[in-house]
């Protein structure tokens, strides 16, 4: 009897063990690195190689961009198999959770989407999971093809860790041109001018600024722009480098102005997401919205509005000449099988052709300064021009200025501030979270 029992225990244990180890490696790539399989004689470098591209690009324009990029790569490198491992979900939340699990389980994708800046540096580089790409930059002569400030965002010390494929601008205000014309309004260039314009619009019964902060990042984005306007770009960088405290008088002033701006937003902001709030501007119920340039894609592709006819755009008041950078980049994780194939992909990603295949569809501008402007619409051309001359600063709301942890806590503080308007509480909360930057 006991023998039987022991046998079953053994059996059960064997089951558990096999379940635990079954995640070794999916079979699909098992023939990639093995040299003992002579069946594939046609390929030149000993077996078929593959590259797995991990991103959260599954939405309308972004997926088109990614597929265009992949088909360009297929054309240039037919011998390399591409696996599109995109994970759907708002702003990459789900993808980031999947990525964290895979990275910590030592099963990294060949390359993955990550925002340049602290999202890259404070997470994967700090965890020693990324391989430097300096040789790739030198081999391709990229050092003077990307702006220095951008290369700095994807570097840690002397090492460069990823290749930027696009740039989005966070400090833009889109406005309904008809509403502006009807009320005789000039584009404001400073925060004070903005307040004057907003008063005028409010008196006329139009919501001056549309906001949809069902998720807090939309409001955080306004705050980061006010911060940049108040501090100036250089001190903004110092603030997030920990050299200036959040209790600094100028940060307090920025928080006060942020609170005042919130007096001009639509009342139902908490039940809207950014698309819903952009709709208010499209319908003329609201005059302006501060949104990254993905809103342009939404206006043009989904709502069929015409750039510079139905809607216009200007830099966030007080940040004219500055450029809030949100950049999607791809790096090289340590411990992957096909380093060479992945480097080939990164090379295409960083090339002019790669960037011009991807960005017009995605609605962003190329990260390279020598891309072909004729492939972009009016908004793109303007922004490409601005990007060449503007002073770049990293976006907080999109994880470039500080670590994901700080961003989460900052969003939390913003959510509370939007209702309570307690400036002291707000700056204290930010200061308390500062060690996590």
């Amino acid at each position: 009897m006991k023998k039987f029992f022991g046998l079953f225990v053994l059996l059960a244990l064997a089951l558990v063990v096999s379940a635990c180890t079954s995640d070794e490696k999916p079979d699909t790539t098992s023939d990639s690195g093995s040299t003992d399989k002579p069946k594939d004689t046609s390929s030149d470098k000993g077996g078929e190689s593959a590259v797995e591209i991990f991103s959260w690009w599954t939405g309308a324009g972004e997926e088109d961009g990614l597929l265009a990029l992949i088909s360009l790569f297929n054309e240039l490198h037919p011998e390399i198999k591409v696996e599109n491992a995109a994970v759907a979900g708002g702003a990459g939340t789900n993808a980031k959770a999947v990525l964290a699990t895979r990275m910590q389980g030592n099963d990294p994708p060949s390359t993955f989407q990550v925002h340049g800046g602290e999202e890259l540096n404070k997470s994967w580089v700090a965890a020693d999971k990324m391989a430097p790409l300096n040789d790739l930059y030198e081999a391709n002569g990229w050092m003077d093809k990307f702006p220095d400030a951008l290369i700095e965002m994807v570097s840690n010390g002397d090492n460069i860790y990823s290749v930027p494929v696009n740039v989005h601008r966070g400090n833009v205000i889109f406005y309904n041109m008809e509403v502006f014309k009807e009320h005789g309004i000039e584009v404001p260039t400073t925060v004070d001018e903005f307040f004057a314009v907003a008063d005028k619009l409010q008196a006329a019964g139009v919501v001056p600024l549309s906001l949809g902060d069902k998720e807090s990042w939309e409001a955080t984005q306004i705050f980061e722009n006010v911060l940049a306007a108040e501090l100036g770009r250089d001190d903004y960088l110092k603030l997030f480098a920990g050299e200036i405290d959040f209790t600094d008088a100028r940060v307090v002033a920025a928080a006060e102005k942020f609170g005042k701006i919130l007096d001009y937003v639509n009342e139902d902001h908490a039940s809207r997401n950014w698309q819903d709030s952009a709709q208010l501007v499209a319908e003329g119920k609201a005059a302006m919205i501060n949104m990254g340039d993905w809103a342009k894609g939404y206006f043009v592709n989904d709502l069929k509005l015409v750039t510079n006819e139905d809607f216009g755009y200007f830099a966030f008041p007080g940040t004219v000449g500055d450029f809030a950078v949100i950049t999607d980049t791809f790096g090289l994780p340590k411990g992957i099988d096909d380093i060479e194939a992945t480097k080939q992909f990164l090379t295409v990603l960083g090339s002019v052709e790669g960037q011009d295949a991807f960005n017009p569809l995605k609605g962003s501008i190329p990260a390279r300064i020598d891309a072909d402007p004729s492939k972009y619409d009016d908004y793109g051309k303007d922004t490409i021009e601005d990007f060449k001359t503007a002073k770049l600063f990293p976006s907080l709301a999109h994880g470039s200025a500080a670590s994901e942890g700080f961003v989460t806590k900052a969003n939390q503080a913003v959510n509370i501030f939007v209702t309570q308007r307690d400036v002291q509480n707000f700056v204290d909360a930010l200061q308390n979270a500062a060690p996590d930057m």
Binding site: M1, K2, F4, F5, F8, V9, L11, A12, L13, L15, V16, A19, T93, K96, A97, A100, Q104, K122, S123, W124, A126, A127, D213, K214, E215, S216, E267, D268, H269, A270, S271, R272, D276, Q279, S403, E404, G405, V407, T408, K409, Q412, N415, I416, V418, T419, Q420
Partner: protein
């Protein structure tokens, strides 16, 4: 060896029982490893300093728990959970009971009504959340209809706290916005309690009611004195099942309102998700998960205890 086994036990274990046990054993081991093992692992993480993406298993004591209890958002979460649970369970029980009593009146086409009420249960909470999000959205659905009459309901964007008083750093009281979420949850789960109560009502013999009526009880008295007491075990089951749903609720609120302005519709499940998977605060997230587990245990353990006693 054989001698060591007491006589009584030897008799008890028939061949069938042994086979059954042997087949259960693998799943028991799986549960021990993948349920209890992982719970212990979560508990272990919650006591560590693992609050970045880089693993750090050094012992932190109760630091993460203390952080949470001083955190505005977590306090709001506990408040919201409390009111959500009370309103949700109360409404599900009352509505379910009322509907089941009506359905029990032997009406024609009863099965049609039953299906109508049971149908929402076939949906998952995430679908319910999306549907109600549309219904209560300011520019679509029901609110747009009300806009025609010049009414602009605030629904879940409302940050008012009813009957509130300051308690620590939060205003303690019923957040109005919670009501919108409760309505959706009740819409989804009433069918369940209706089915439970209907089964219970059908289980009460007609003789009992007739006897009471013969004794001169009014119909109201029949329900209050005879039927409702008989339904107590069912009420217990409904409370237990609804309580653990409401304490762990995530998907409905995630799809419908998110955290809400000033965290009026935030719950521990949402906070856990954001802390862990957005902020990479693994230890804090684990601490929230453990607290949620304890909250559920408060309901489940006494129930398991009493049902075990009943068995004996």
């Amino acid at each position: 060896m054989e001698k060591a086994i007491p006589d009584k036990r030897k008799k008890k274990l028939s061949k069938d029982q042994l086979t059954a046990m042997a087949f259960l054993l693998p799943s028991i081991i799986f549960v021990i490893v993948f349920v209890y093992g992982f719970i212990s692992w979560t508990g272990y993480i919650s006591l560590s300093n693992y609050n970045t993406i880089v693993p750090d298993y050094s012992f932190a004591g109760l630091k993460n728990y203390l952080y949470l209890f001083n955190d505005f958002r977590f306090q709001a979460d506990l408040r919201n959970t409390l009111f959500f649970t009370i309103l949700f369970i109360g409404a599900v029980i009352l509505l379910g009971l009322a509907l089941s009593i009506l359905l029990d009146q032997k009406l024609k086409g009863e099965s049609i009504f039953r299906n109508i009420f049971l149908f929402p249960m076939a949906l998952s909470f995430i679908v319910t959340g999306v549907v109600w999000q549309w219904l209560l959205h300011p520019s679509t659905g029901f609110n747009k209809f009300l806009n025609l009459f010049g009414i602009q309901p605030k629904w879940y964007t409302d940050t008012t706290i009813l009957a509130g008083f300051k308690w620590g750093s939060i205003e303690f009281g019923l957040p109005v916005a919670i009501i919108a979420v409760v309505i959706a949850a009740v819409w989804q789960m009433t069918g369940f309690s209706l089915a439970m109560y209907l089964a219970g009502l059908r289980g009460i013999g007609d003789e009992l009611r007739e006897a009471a009526r013969m004794d001169g009880a009014t119909e109201f008295q029949v329900y209050m004195k005879i039927i409702l007491p008989q339904l107590m075990p069912i009420t217990m089951s409904v409370v237990i099942i609804m309580a653990h749903i409401s304490l762990k609720i995530f998907d409905l609120i995630y799809a419908m309102t998110g955290s809400g302005a000033n965290f009026v519709t935030d719950v521990p499940g949402l906070y856990m998700f954001e802390t862990t998977f957005r902020g990479n605060y693994y230890a804090n997230g684990a601490a929230i998960a453990i607290i949620m587990l304890l909250l559920v245990a408060v309901f489940i353990v006494p129930y398991l205890w009493s049902s075990r006693k009943g068995e004996n």
